[in-house]
Structure formats: structure tokens, C-alpha cells
């Protein structure tokens, strides 16, 4: 729709110069620019539509590598893995902040520029729209035939006085337009009577609300990130987590969170429920209906509560939300020295490695044995063997639970105060005593069994957590909980909803101007009224011709109604 040809109205000064509704710029000799002009020129470039498109495309392209390369925020292990497999390339990519892409300087640069461009665009448009909202519809153009939609009907005058008839028929058109939600203004001259009408201010309002809400979303996200925190904690059945900084497995605070103001509550994992699709059925072995049954004690109110956290259904404790993120087995292992004294006894969470819950866990015994000892354990809830002879779990529930250990001795690397993960063992400074190439068989235990450690150092026992009463409860489970506070979420949602509403009105509400004009023509003895109906789209408006035709039909029908006389109508093209 090249409306620049037919648009008799002044261009909109608030729009970027390259907006389709603006006139083509005249080719002019460029004058020499001073610093202020350069700044103004730069600002005009930044707020132009072309720049907006380029920045949008740039944003789209820049986002893609984040889906190809692992991200530290979403997949920290993937990043470590990438460094291991691509030792040459990884540091270069890291230098380009590819692993922290969405916090990187250049990605931030793109979206900040985009938002500056956006703000630079919406402020003048808001100002202009505010004025437009209080302006009357413009004067009826002299030549309506220049507008893109234009219909003509010649009708005989009904009254003695053609002028009075013309004024009356325009009044009826005006009333109809008003009923249709148009803002109207009469413009009568000596020889013509007309109404100028405009509707669809909501289109620009929606457009501005949409763009402003996007700024709102960004501000809410950035502002809230400083006051939010997220922490993870693994809780084994029967144990309690106290909501203090020390008790978290990991804790990621926002900039303004120091972790001393956490709500005083504790969570005890009473039990963990899970059900399995029986083997042989489609999806056999698939686990589901996870539920972590918690007892919540709130120190402030002194109340005690029980609640279940399930996937998709987090619970609210104080001002935190508690999510169920993962689960697994925590076999209870006891290590005794050669004198029978217990030197280690824990239900240690073993991390699942596959969907059948083959799980990996580490036991570290720093004191009480002749040397520091580390056990690398595999837990198989239902032990089976691969063709290679290696063990694997063939079903995720506890049917034939077996734990195996490779024993390492030497330095656990924890004496110099460097914090070490409880889930990994650095075996580089250690000697392997069982399994692998050590020559000795790995230790293999079922619940209740005990085996000797190498060198006669003592024994290791796989305790039956149910005390032998219930084989299905022989191994404890753990739940991995995510505890978070997000102050920005509701704001983000509110702005996003507002943006959607703005988008719908901004894209779908047509904005149009309609003119209805009556003029007296023909033989003075037998005058006829020439009625013109014209429409002008402001923005996309595919329905305009239909709308104008509808207005004409209603108007002519209304004109016919009072009298039985049928005026001959001639519709020109």
C-alpha cells in the first residue's frame, strides 16, 4: 500500500524518518556537520527503523551460539567437559565470553542498544500520541478521490432546500460514525457539507504500551536479579535442612543479598515417594509421581507443617519457593577400623548416571585409618551385567541393590583447607588398592553385608536402612531441592501480560480516517446530492474498503428509510 501517493496529511514527526508512513526524504546536498549535528545524526540513526531491524537480527544471531555451546549458568558441567575435549579452542571461546554468552559484554551491548533505540523511539511518539488524542479530526481534504478508498453516490435531494438536505444527511452520517466509535468533526463550507472522523487511537496506544512494557520487563529482570537468590540442597530421608547459608550445598545470591537475612525455617525429608512403570510395559522403568514429603518448622511462628513438593508444584515457605529438582539413592555406608571402631557412617547421596539409576558416589575417610582412604562407589538399585561383564542397573527401583567400591589410599587433598566437592575424588595423589589395575577385586556389597578393606585396615558395611525388615526400603533416598526467592517474577509477568495486550491492540485494531461529504450538483432546477465516502488507512488496514462500503450502505439505507421514495443510485468506481 503505497500511501505516500495518496496521503494528503502531514507526515508524523514522531516516527523514525524511514518509517513507511513518512515521505521519502529529498535528496539534498549534505551540509558540513558540527559535533552537535553529528550527535543528532547519530541519534537519528540509532532510533531509525533500519537500526531497530538490524539490532533485532543481530540479537537473534547473537543468541544462537548460546544454544550450541554449553552455558555456565545452565550447564556448568558441560562447560568443564568442553574444556576437557577442546583444550585449544575452549580458552579462546571463553575469552569471547561464549560460555557466559547472555551475560557477555557484547550480548548486553546489543540489547542495551536495542532498548535505547526503543526508548528513543517511544518517548517522542508518546508525546505526539498524547497530543493526537486531544486533537480534533483534521479538515476534510478537498479532493477525496485521491484517498485509497473512495465511493460516490448521487442521490436526488429530498427537501426543497438542497443545502438543508445536505446538512441533514451529513448529520446522520456523523451520528452513525459516532455510533461506530469514531471521533467526529463537522467541516461545512458554502458549497459542501462534510464530516471528518477518526478511530483506532487504541492502535497507537497498544503499540506504545507494548514497547514500554518490554522496557518494563527488562528493568524488572535486571532490578530483581540483585535481590533474588537461589540455593540447592540435597536432603537424605530422615535428615533436616536448616535454612542458613552454611547448610546449602550451593548458594547463588543476587548482588544485594548477603545470606544473613534468610527466613528461619527448617525442612525435614520424612520420605520420598516415587512410582515406576513396571518392566515389560511401554515406558517400562520410567519413574514418576515424585513427591518429597517434608516437615516444615518455622522458627518465627513456631508452627510445624507437613507438605509435599512435587515436580511442577513447588511449595511456598516463608517468602521462598521450594522446588523438587532431582532425586536419587543415598546408601548408608559404615567404615570401621581394624579395632572395630566406627570411623565413618553416613547416608551418602550417590548421583544418578543414567535413567536406570546407576549411581556414582564418593566416600572419604580422612581419619581413623592408617592412611586417608577414598572409596569410589557405584550403586545399582537392580544389578545386571552388560555384555562386557561390567555391571549396570537394569531397573531404577530397589530390587537387587548392590554397591561396589574401588578403594584408594593417599592424600584426599582436603588438609590444606581447599574446599572439595563431596561428589568427586581427585585420585591423582592416591594409590588404587582394589579394582582396575590394582590386581585386587572391587568390593561388592548387598544391604547388610560387610567386606574387609585391603591391607587389613578394617571393614566396610552396606547398612540395611530398614534394619532388614523391608527389602524395598533397604536404601535411603535423597531429594535435591532448589530454594529460591524471586522478587521480580510477578513484575515480569505483569509487564509481559501488558505487552501482549498492547501487542494485540497495536497489531489488530485498525486506525483509519473516514470522510463523508455532500455537495449539491446538477441542474439548479433539479439538483442532486453527490455523496462521497472516503477512507484513509493509518497503518495496516486491509478491511478499509469494506468498512467504507459498510458506512455507505448504512448511510444510504438510513436516508431511504423515512420516505418510500427510492432514489436512483449511481455508484461510480
Amino acid at each position: 500500500m503505497s500511501r505516500s501517493l495518496s496521503d494528503p496529511l502531514p507526515t508524523d514527526p514522531s516516527r523514525p524518518a524511514d518509517h513507511i508512513d513518512q515521505d521519502e526524504p529529498d535528496a539534498i546536498a549534505s551540509p558540513t556537520l558540527g559535533p552537535v549535528e553529528w550527535l543528532r545524526w547519530g541519534w537519528r540513526q540509532l532510533t531509525s527503523m533500519r537500526t531497530a531491524i538490524l539490532l533485532l537480527l543481530l540479537l537473534a544471531i547473537a543468541s544462537v551460539p548460546g544454544s550450541i555451546f554449553p552455558q555456565r549458568t545452565a550447564d556448568p558441567n558441560g562447560v568443564l567437559q568442553y574444556f576437557r575435549t577442546n583444550p585449544d579452542l575452549a580458552p579462546i571461546l571463553d575469552g569471547l565470553q561464549v560460555f557466559d554468552l547472555y551475560n557477555s559484554a557484547w550480548f548486553s551491548g546489543i540489547y542495551l542498544l536495542l532498548f535505547i533505540s526503543l526508548i528513543g523511539c517511544i518517548i517522542p511518539r508518546t508525546r505526539h500520541h498524547w497530543k493526537a488524542l486531544r486533537t480534533r479530526p483534521p479538515r476534510t481534504p478537498a479532493r477525496l478521490s485521491r484517498l485509497s478508498a473512495h465511493l460516490v453516490a448521487d442521490v436526488p435531494t429530498k427537501a426543497e432546500d438542497p443545502a438543508a438536505d445536505a446538512a441533514a444527511t451529513i448529520a446522520s452520517a456523523a451520528a452513525d460514525l459516532r455510533r461506530r466509535g469514531y471521533r467526529i468533526e463537522r467541516y461545512d463550507t458554502a458549497r459542501s457539507w462534510s464530516v471528518s472522523a477518526e478511530r483506532g487511537y487504541l492502535r497507537e496506544t497498544g503499540n506504545l504500551v507494548f514497547h514500554a512494557s518490554l522496557v518494563g520487563v527488562l528493568v524488572a529482570v535486571l532490578a530483581a536479579s540483585g535481590f533474588s537468590y537461589t540455593g540447592q540442597r540435597v536432603i537424605v530421608e530422615g535428615t533436616t535442612f536448616v535454612n542458613t547459608l552454611n547448610d546449602y550445598s550451593s548458594f547463588t545470591p543476587g548482588r544485594f543479598v548477603d545470606g544473613t537475612q534468610l527466613d528461619p525455617y527448617s525442612l525435614t525429608l520424612d520420605s520420598f515417594d516415587v512410582s515406576y512403570v513396571p518392566p515389560g510395559e511401554p515406558g517400562g522403568g520410567q519413574a514418576g509421581d515424585f513427591a518429597a514429603n517434608l516437615t516444615i518448622r518455622d522458627a518465627r511462628t513456631g508452627t510445624e507443617d507437613t507438605e509435599s513438593v512435587r515436580v511442577n508444584y513447588p511449595i511456598t515457605v516463608g517468602s521462598d519457593r521450594v522446588y523438587l529438582l532431582g532425586n536419587g539413592y543415598a546408601p548408608t555406608i559404615t567404615v570401621r577400623n581394624s579395632e572395630g571402631t566406627v570411623v565413618y557412617s553416613e547416608s551418602q547421596p550417590f548421583l544418578p548416571q543414567d535413567s536406570m539409576m546407576t549411581s556414582l558416589g564418593i566416600i572419604k575417610v580422612p581419619d581413623g585409618l592408617p592412611e586417608q582412604v577414598g572409596l569410589v562407589g557405584f550403586f545399582y538399585p537392580t544389578q545386571g551385567a552388560l555384555d562386557t561383564g561390567a555391571f549396570t542397573s537394569v531397573y531404577p527401583d530397589v530390587v537387587n541393590p548392590v554397591v561396589t567400591f574401588n578403594v584408594f589410599s593417599g592424600s584426599l587433598g582436603i588438609d590444606n583447607g581447599v574446599p572439595r566437592s563431596v561428589y568427586t575424588l581427585d585420585t591423582s595423589g592416591m594409590t588404587q588398592l582394589t579394582g582396575g589395575t590394582s590386581g585386587a577385586e572391587s568390593i561388592q556389597l548387598t544391604p547388610g553385608q560387610t567386606a574387609d578393606l585391603p591391607n587389613g585396615w578394617g571393614t566396610v558395611t552396606f547398612e540395611d536402612a530398614s534394619g532388614g525388615t523391608n527389602p524395598l526400603a533397604a536404601v535411603k533416598r535423597f531429594a535435591s531441592l532448589d530454594i529460591k526467592r524471586d522478587t521480580g517474577g510477578p513484575w515480569v509477568l505483569a509487564f509481559a501480560t501488558l505487552a501482549t495486550l498492547g501487542l494485540i491492540t497495536g497489531l489488530l485494531v485498525p486506525r483509519r480516517r473516514v470522510f463523508v461529504k455532500a455537495s449539491v450538483t446538477g441542474d439548479p432546477d433539479e439538483p442532486t446530492l453527490r455523496l462521497e465516502y472516503a477512507g484513509l488507512a493509518r497503518g495496516e488496514d486491509p478491511q478499509l474498503p469494506d468498512a467504507i462500503a459498510g458506512i455507505r450502505d448504512t448511510h444510504l439505507a438510513a436516508r431511504d428509510r423515512p420516505s418510500s421514495q427510492t432514489p436512483s443510485q449511481r455508484n461510480s468506481r
Binding site: 500500500m1 524511514d18 485509497s148 529482570v221 514418576g288 524471586d486 509477568l493 462500503a549
Partner: protein, 337 residues
């Protein structure tokens, strides 16, 4: 083929889906014949009298209006194109089989039939056809039939071969009302983007023909480019139509993004985490935002914006296939191992 004793609801569903694929292929052939016949037709097609007499002495707008009106005709007033009509009837039949197959799958699973890749392909293509058939009542888009139905047959056939999995119980994260809303609206948006893409591609062909025609002029010009293009609306009318489908698709996509964020907030404890699928949904959103801006920018309206629409839909397909299968992320619900 399953033996009769094990004729479960799912195997009946599968049979219906294969039938649908076969009929879609026939419809595709019919639509292709239609395009070929349009090409050889010597005379200019009979123009349907415009519904609205639109004035204006600017030649551009007059042309466009006439062309638009040609697209916007009620079924009774259209050009009589035998093969196009056969194509549409076949598409209607195939749609019924397709719908029955999809409902059968849902009944067998006891849930909405869009919880893994196979089912999503089933429902997604069903919606493309549904939207196409619904739109046909208002616009004569039968010239898109060979593109859309061909694509549907390809996607559906490919998905049934490559992605088919038995009905399994839902995984925990999918047990949410958002599965129904988020995924359905995403499919609907995809359907609209598909039609928009088809229109944009046709627009590009038409624009090339128009450029050549205006360059050469005369009888020679009529033979330039693909012949059937002569019977189609102008590039400008196609663009305007493509835009209309794209903006509705964009609104659905925006909703998909927000609904997905709400779900992610319940399921994963954050509303946005740049998961691979989130990234691609965002990329698509940004591409279509770029497209909508391009439509309103001098120098970008026309061919350039049409390319953006095509790139946008390519990203949609990429997001559904490659990202689901090969990219590591939290949206790991393809059901494939």
C-alpha cells in the same frame, strides 16, 4: 502391520495416519496439476467481479485492491479450477483421517496427543491443515495447496517413520495444565507461520515475475517466470496477506513464550534460563519482530521482509526438528532415545 489380535487403539490410529498421508500425497498431486494447468492456460483468468467497488485514481492501490479481492472470495464465487477443487476435497478427506488418527492416539494415551515429538508432529500438521481449510472459506489460497499439503505430507510421513514411539505414561514435568495450553498455542502459531511463509515465498516468485514483466513488457513478459503466477494475486497483495497471518502467529508465539515461562517457573524454578529451546523460541520471536518492523520500514518492505518471514519459519522448523533431536537441553521430551 499389527495382527488383528493386537489391534489396539494406537495401531488403528497409526493406520489412519498412514491413510491420511497417502491421501495428502494425492491432494498434493492434484494441487500440483492445478498449478501446471494454470501455467498453460492461454487466456487471462476470468476476474471475479470485485466485491467492493473501490475508487482512487492511483493505479497502485487500485491494482492491489482488485488483486486482494480476488483472493478474498467466498467459495461460490471462485474461479472454477477442477484440479484445485479435487485437491481441496482430498485434503478434506485426509484431514478427517488425520483428525481421527490424532484423537485415537490421544484416547489411547489418555491425555492430549502432543506430549512427544511424534504426537507433536501429528497435532502440529493437523493444525496447519485445519487453519488452511478454515482460511479457504474466506480467501482463495488454493495456490498454496501444493506447498502446504506437500509439506504436511512430508512432515507427517517423516515424523511417523522417524519419531513414532509407543504410548508411554507422561513424564513428571509434563503433568501440567500448561502442556495443554503452551504446546497447543505453539502449534497454532506454527501453522500460521507456515501459511505466512508459503505466501511470502509465492510473493518472492511473483515479485520477480513482475520485475521482469515491467522490464520487458509486451507479450514476451507474459511468458516470463512460472506461468501459473499470472493467475495469482500481485506480490503486494500476497505480502499484505502474509503479513496478516504472521502478526496473528506472532501474537500466539508471544503467548507461547509467556506461557512457557510460567510453566518453567513452576517446573524448573526459574521463568527464563536460556535453555536451548528457550533460546530458539526467543530467536524466532525476535526474527518475526524484525519482520514486522521491516514491513513498516522503507527499503525493507517487499522482498527483504519476505525473506525474513521465510527465515523465521525455517527457524521454526529447525527448532522443532534439529533442536529437539540434537541440542542438549531441558526440553528433552522427544520420547526418542
Amino acid at each position: 502391520m499389527p495382527d488383528p489380535e493386537s489391534l489396539t487403539l494406537d495401531s488403528i490410529s497409526l493406520l489412519l495416519v498412514w491413510t491420511a498421508i497417502a491421501v495428502y500425497l494425492l491432494a498434493f498431486v492434484a494441487y500440483a496439476i492445478d498449478l501446471a494447468q494454470r501455467s498453460v492456460r492461454r487466456d487471462e483468468p476470468q476476474r471475479v467481479p470485485a466485491l467492493v467497488t473501490a475508487g482512487g485514481d492511483t493505479q497502485n492501490t487500485g491494482d492491489e485492491r482488485a488483486a486482494l479481492n480476488e483472493v478474498r472470495t467466498r467459495p461460490g464465487q471462485r474461479q472454477r479450477l477442477l484440479w484445485a477443487r479435487i485437491g481441496t476435497v482430498l485434503t478434506g478427506f485426509a484431514f478427517v483421517f488425520h483428525l481421527a488418527g490424532t484423537i485415537g492416539r490421544g484416547l489411547d494415551a489418555g491425555r492430549v496427543p502432543w506430549a512427544n515429538m511424534y504426537e507433536f508432529a501429528l497435532t502440529g500438521t493437523l493444525l496447519i491443515v485445519a487453519v488452511y481449510l478454515a482460511v479457504l472459506r474466506r480467501y482463495d489460497l488454493r495456490f498454496l495447496g501444493s506447498f502446504l499439503i506437500g509439506m504436511v505430507a512430508l512432515l507427517l510421513g517423516g515424523a511417523t517413520l522417524a519419531f513414532y514411539v509407543e504410548v508411554t505414561p507422561l513424564m513428571d514435568p509434563l503433568k501440567s495444565v500448561w502442556l495443554i495450553i503452551h504446546v497447543f498455542v505453539a502449534s497454532l502459531g506454527t501453522a500460521l507461520f507456515a501459511i505466512s511463509c508459503g505466501l511470502s515465498a509465492t510473493q518472492l516468485l511473483q515479485a520477480r515475475r513482475e520485475r521482469r514483466a515491467s522490464g520487458k513488457g509486451g507479450e514476451d513478459a507474459k511468458r516470463s517466470g512460472l506461468g501459473y503466477l499470472r493467475t495469482l494475486p500481485t506480490a503486494e497483495a500476497l505480502e499484505s496477506l502474509a503479513y496478516r497471518f504472521a502478526i496473528v502467529g506472532f501474537i500466539f508465539w508471544t503467548f507461547t513464550l509467556i506461557a512457557g515461562s510460567i510453566w518453567a517457573n513452576d517446573s524448573w524454578g526459574r521463568y527464563w534460563g536460556f535453555d536451548t529451546k528457550e533460546v530458539w523460541t526467543f530467536v524466532i520471536w525476535v526474527l518475526y519482530a524484525g519482520y514486522i518492523h521491516a514491513r513498516a520500514t522503507r527499503g525493507w518492505r517487499g522482498t527483504r521482509s519476505a525473506w525474513l518471514s521465510i527465515i523465521g519459519f525455517t527457524a521454526v522448523l529447525f527448532n522443532f526438528t534439529i533442536v529437539n533431536m540434537f541440542f542438549k537441553g531441558l526440553h528433552a521430551y522427544s520420547g526418542l532415545t
